[in-house]
């Protein structure tokens, strides 16, 4: 088996920044010229006979927060699984700092993952362990640190997500939002170089949402961490993301800063950010004729609600 190319993930320290990113700052941050930490080329994935990606191409700039958005079922989580090597594509390549993830052997993949933090959509906390032990788990598994240092690191991260007081609770005693924040603390406990957030804002109340946004921005600014954010909440995404990719139909259909996408006049951006049912992305899952399903003659009913006034 060929040896994996050396990984060159590195730290980058930049000045702290405010969480509120104005349009001007966002323009300044536009990473068109920035070097890419992750390069996705010609990605093709077919799952269960359905084409998820069909020649997807995108770059994730180093040290920036990149949001990946798109309609449900368009493959955003699948993309994260490809990037972390959990799922191999049918074709194409994913390079992280030059190393092709699709070709890495298991031990090299594990070495790469030690530098990656991953926030799962459903938190994925270890149910046998307390909150403290969940956050301490990566430290205990990979580092031989004194217990006092482990305790300080864990409590620091729990303080950052506002759950230091919940350290002794079990995952079954947490609400969905609290579990997500614990999972976030676990994802960042080893100060990774790359963090992937899969739906980090689901279930968070406005206070927690604001703090999590602030944390994501601070991590990015102070440690230069590259972040990939999969989310549907554009208002929240717009507050932290430097770059947004809109994926639909297996391809990137729009790319730019949040401000650029908001102003965008393509059918994709109009429909997705305007929340319209009609557009290039069908609201209805492919189905048989609506009228026939209801027992009427085929073609007698529209598949979308009838909104015109009756005569």
């Amino acid at each position: 088996m060929a040896a994996a190319p050396p990984l060159r993930l590195r730290w980058r320290f930049v000045q702290p920044d405010r969480i509120d990113v104005s349009d001007d700052r966002a323009q300044a941050r536009t990473p068109h010229a920035a070097d890419a930490l992750i390069e996705v080329r010609g990605l093709r994935t077919v799952l269960g006979g359905k084409v998820i990606f069909d020649g997807l191409e995108l770059d994730i700039p180093r040290g920036r927060i990149t949001a990946v958005m798109g309609p449900s079922g368009t493959g955003k989580t699948t993309l994260l699984r490809h990037i972390t090597g959990q799922l191999r594509p049918d074709a194409g390549s994913i390079r992280i700092d030059g190393a092709d993830v699709t070709a890495l052997p298991r031990h090299a993949l594990f070495a790469l993952r030690e530098k990656i933090g991953y926030l799962f959509q459903n938190s994925a906390l270890l149910t046998d362990f307390s909150v403290f032990e969940n956050v301490a788990f990566p430290l205990r598994q990979h580092l031989d640190l004194p217990e006092e240092l482990v305790r300080n690191l864990v409590l620091t991260k729990l303080q950052a997500v506002g759950l230091r007081g919940a350290a002794e609770l079990m995952p079954s005693e947490l609400s969905g939002g609290m579990a997500r924040r614990v999972a976030l603390a676990r994802a960042i406990v080893r100060d990774p170089t790359l963090i992937l957030y899969d739906e980090p804002f689901v279930g968070l109340d406005p206070i927690a949402l604001n703090q999590v946004l602030k944390l994501i921005r601070t991590l990015n600014d102070t440690l230069g961490i590259t972040s990939i954010l999969v989310a549907h909440e554009f208002a929240a995404v717009a507050r932290v993301a430097d770059l947004v990719y809109l994926i639909a139909g297996g391809k990137v259909v729009a790319r730019g800063t949040p401000a650029e996408l908001t102003r965008g006049d393509s059918a994709w951006t109009r429909q997705f950010f305007g929340g319209e049912a009609d557009g290039p992305v069908p609201f209805q899952y492919p189905a048989r004729d609506y009228a026939a399903d209801l027992g009427f003659p085929a073609g007698a009913a529209s598949s979308t609600p009838h909104t015109e006034p009756r005569p």
Partner: protein
């Protein structure tokens, strides 16, 4: 005539594929055993969970199996005037067959199902994927400790089962039906061979422990990540474990006799 060879029925094909996958999984576990020694506390926890927590059912069943065996054998032996051989027959039955086999069946029902359900739920709630994402090998952290726990706990449980079984037979034969205490013990100790009977029984229980633990871990690890998938997996653990234990018992008995 068509040159295309007919495909085997899917049930046979699926079964062979499962056996093959289980064999490969065993190799993965064995390869991960040295790495799993880093998680020795997890292995000890699993021995406690699968072994110590199974003691109540093993002791209770062992006692009653021994009592029933004592009662039935006393009746049969009394026809031939050979009730003095009760201790011998009971102990040989327990050490050679009933101890390892019944313990394995009980172990599959009590510990095997819980191992499958636990790992299946870990799979369904992305805990296994989370470990992989934290660069922790789930085979070394989850599968290998449970497999080792099965191998360690089964012979110990079988010994407890045997002891309680013989105690139950003694209770019925000596305390209840009036058989002489000295006759019961002396006939037993004079006819039971440590290596041929006791140790062979222990070897059997080690093999059964490995088989049941492997099936339980494999079913949990490969289950569909749904409630229905976990339910089917736990059922398959009991069914497959029972069949394989009984079949393996025949093979081992044939070789060990």
């Amino acid at each position: 005539m068509s040159a295309v060879r007919p495909k085997p029925p899917s049930m046979i094909g699926d079964a062979l594929a499962q056996v093959g996958a289980c064999g490969l999984f065993l190799l993965q576990i064995l390869a991960a055993v040295p790495r799993s020694l880093r998680h020795i506390r997890e292995t000890v926890r699993q021995v406690w969970f699968t072994g110590a927590m199974s003691l109540v059912i093993i002791m209770t069943c062992g006692l009653f199996v021994g009592m029933v065996l004592g009662l039935q054998l006393y009746y049969v032996l009394s026809i031939f005037g050979g009730t003095a051989a009760l201790g011998t027959v009971v102990s040989l039955s327990m050490y050679r067959e009933l101890g390892p086999v019944v313990t394995a069946l009980l172990f599959a029902g009590r510990a095997g199902t819980s191992i499958t359900a636990e790992i299946g739920l870990m799979r369904a709630t992305d805990q296994i994927a989370a470990m992989e994402m934290m660069a922790v090998d789930p085979i070394a952290y989850v599968a290998a400790p449970r497999f080792l726990a099965g191998v360690i706990a089964m012979p110990l449980l079988a010994c407890v089962f045997n002891a309680l079984g013989i105690f139950g037979a003694h209770l019925v034969g000596v305390s209840w039906l009036g058989l002489d205490n000295g006759t019961f013990w002396s006939n037993m100790t004079s006819s039971v061979d440590v290596w041929k009977d006791v140790v062979n029984g222990v070897w059997k229980s080690v093999a059964f422990g490995a088989v049941v633990a492997l099936i339980a871990v494999f079913q949990g690890y490969t289950t569909a990540p749904t409630s229905e998938g976990v339910a089917y997996a736990t059922t398959r653990t009991v069914v497959f474990s029972s069949i394989v234990v009984l079949a393996l018992d025949f093979v081992m008995t044939a070789f060990l006799m």
